[in-house]
């Protein structure tokens, strides 16, 4: 009998015999499709604790799997593989291998907070998504995600000067991710605007590029924040059983 809802089963779990004859009856092709059982040879018993140790993951233990997060999720609506409820389940069970199959999309959470709004248990699934993508990067399962590269480029400006200049964030992000700044759509956007831009605003924009916006007397705040960031980084690495950053 053909398997209904085949799309819900991972393709590697579907086994089909091209030629199979049972008691003289030809059942080749999809008539002989079997679903391989889900067996977990190895659990990571620390997985939930590790995620909970990172910022955002603190409340993961509260989840009772109602699925409100996935049901309300912005990204799930355009990519059904993006499934916070399922990932929280895997983390709580310690099923690391199964979690790693989705490692390249977890960072795509857009932080719209619909899940946190819907969650009846204050799990803060948005935070769990951020903690999980952070965990994947710290453990070396994935390279730094574009999102993290952007967050770092942005935060360096904020911590360094107290304010950001959005043009510089954009240029810095494309540079760090090795993408050309001359994206056709960006060009279309800018040329459309320059045609009717007041000269004074263009001058202002140039001014901001040369004299970066900054908060006066920021040096002490900058140093205090940097010290705190280093401290937190070390604590996070320690919680995951990793050596210091330099030793990596």
């Amino acid at each position: 009998m053909p398997i209904h809802e085949k799309s819900l089963i991972r393709p590697e779990k579907l086994v089909e015999h091209e030629e199979l004859v049972i008691e003289g009856m030809d059942v080749s092709g999809h008539w002989s499709t079997f679903i391989e059982g889900r067996s977990v040879p190895d659990y990571n018993e620390n997985l939930q604790e590790e995620i909970a140790a990172l910022p955002g993951g603190e409340n993961i233990h509260r989840c009772w799997q109602c699925g409100s997060c996935t049901n309300s999720c912005t990204v799930n609506a355009i990519n059904p593989d993006f499934n916070p409820r399922y990932w929280i389940y895997l983390i709580r069970m310690g099923m690391e291998d199964e979690l790693l199959r989705d490692k390249d999309i977890i960072w795509q959470c857009v932080s719209c907070n619909k899940c946190t709004y819907a969650c009846p248990r204050d799990v803060v699934p948005e935070g769990v998504m951020k903690a999980t993508s952070h965990w994947l990067e710290l453990k070396g399962h994935t390279p730094k995600s574009p999102s993290m590269i952007f967050d770092e480029a942005f935060s360096e400006q904020v911590i360094g000067r107290g304010k950001i200049e959005d043009g510089l964030v954009l240029r810095e992000f494309y540079k760090r991710t090795g993408q050309p700044l001359a994206q056709p759509w960006l060009i279309a956007m800018v040329t459309g605007l320059v045609k009717r831009f007041p000269v004074i605003y263009l001058m202002k924009l140039g001014f901001a590029t040369v004299f970066r916006p900054k908060t006066r007397g920021w040096a002490r705040a900058r140093d205090a924040i940097n010290e705190y960031v280093e401290e937190r980084e070390a604590a996070n690495r320690k919680a995951l059983g990793l050596g210091s950053k330099g030793a990596k």
Binding site: T74, F150, S155, K163, G167, M189, R196, A224, I225, V229
Partner: protein, 309 residues
């Protein structure tokens, strides 16, 4: 609530976006305030609130960054600060909540504030409001109706509020408090203000949908899909204009409207304007005065057609 002049003079926190890509929002907010007789006093030497990004490095830094601005507001003698940007508004609200409920946030804020050499902000001293609260609660719909010189009649508007204005619910204790208060599931303050200015609001189901603003560059394909969804829905509802109240949403909608056309070949004609631009024009200000020519989305011909600008 209308006519409550508690918000007649408030501290103003524009934030980084309003000094850069959201310049037109800054210009139109100030122009509208002046026209309505509301005073804004910019916070001295403010810093970035941390936007959507710093929290992913560590959430407590964001709490500190926002708390520093609240501390300056208090030092300047104000008990209310108005932030027109959803991101800033959200972060100041979140800092207020965290400093009231979370010991670690409080400790980190104490430590960073004393090392940075300024007064530590303590919860409960400053109320953070959005530009929508500021206008709705000080002038109100009746006040706007009295002051309209150039009605927005004939303009169909889809009001778009985005994520950070309403979610998560717990940082907005004043919302969902019955009649007169803002709703987190179906916000209506912008609808109320623009309706009073004569606009025809369409029934728009994606008011609080996400534009993908956090990943506007880092995951542009997702953002483009989300924006296209919002714009096509607004068009299907019969709107001429999407009204916005956040510089990140606004720029995101504009950028990905163009990107959807260039990358996916999906063109949408709907125009994107800040609600302060629409309100300003209704109050008799010129399109130029409220920065319509600074928007990427060129609404000038539409506005001329409707007898504005």
């Amino acid at each position: 609530m209308a006519g409550d002049m508690k918000y007649k003079k408030v501290a103003y926190y524009p934030g980084c976006a309003l000094e850069g890509s959201g310049h037109a929002y800054n210009r139109s907010t100030k122009a509208v305030g002046k026209e309505l007789g509301l005073d804004l006093v910019e916070i001295k030497n403010w810093n970035c609130c941390g936007a959507m990004e710093v929290k992913n490095i560590d959430p407590k830094i964001q709490t500190y960054l926002s708390a520093r601005n609240l501390s300056i507001t208090e030092e300047m003698g104000f008990d209310t600060v108005m932030a027109p940007c959803n991101g800033c508004y959200h972060n100041l609200k979140k800092a207020e909540y965290d400093l009231d409920h979370d010991e670690t946030s409080k400790e980190v804020n104490n430590r960073l504030s004393s090392k940075a050499g300024h007064k530590t902000y303590e919860a409960g001293k400053v109320e953070t409001i959005h530009a929508l609260d500021w206008i709705k609660k000080s002038i109100g719909e009746d006040g706007i109706r009295e002051r309209v010189k150039n009605s927005l009649q004939g303009i169909k508007v889809a009001n778009y509020y985005g994520c950070m204005y309403t979610r998560p619910r717990h940082i907005f204790p004043e919302k969902d408090q019955g009649p007169g208060s803002e709703s987190t599931s179906k916000p209506h303050y912008m609808d109320d203000i623009l309706a009073a200015a004569g606009a025809e609001n369409v029934d728009f189901p994606l008011k609080t949908a996400c534009c993908g603003g956090a990943h506007t560059l880092s995951d542009s394909d997702t953002s483009t899909k989300l924006v296209l969804n919002i714009l096509t829905a607004a068009e299907a509802c019969g709107a001429d204009v999407v009204a916005t109240e956040c510089p990140t949403c606004h720029t995101g909608l504009e950028m990905h409207q163009i990107r959807a056309e260039k990358v996916l070949g999906r063109k949408t004609n709907i125009k994107i304007l800040y609600f302060t631009q629409l309100l300003g024009m209704a109050l008799g200000l010129s399109a130029k005065k409220v920065g319509v020519n600074e928007n990427f989305s060129d609404a000038r011909s539409l506005l001329k057609e409707k007898g504005l600008g």
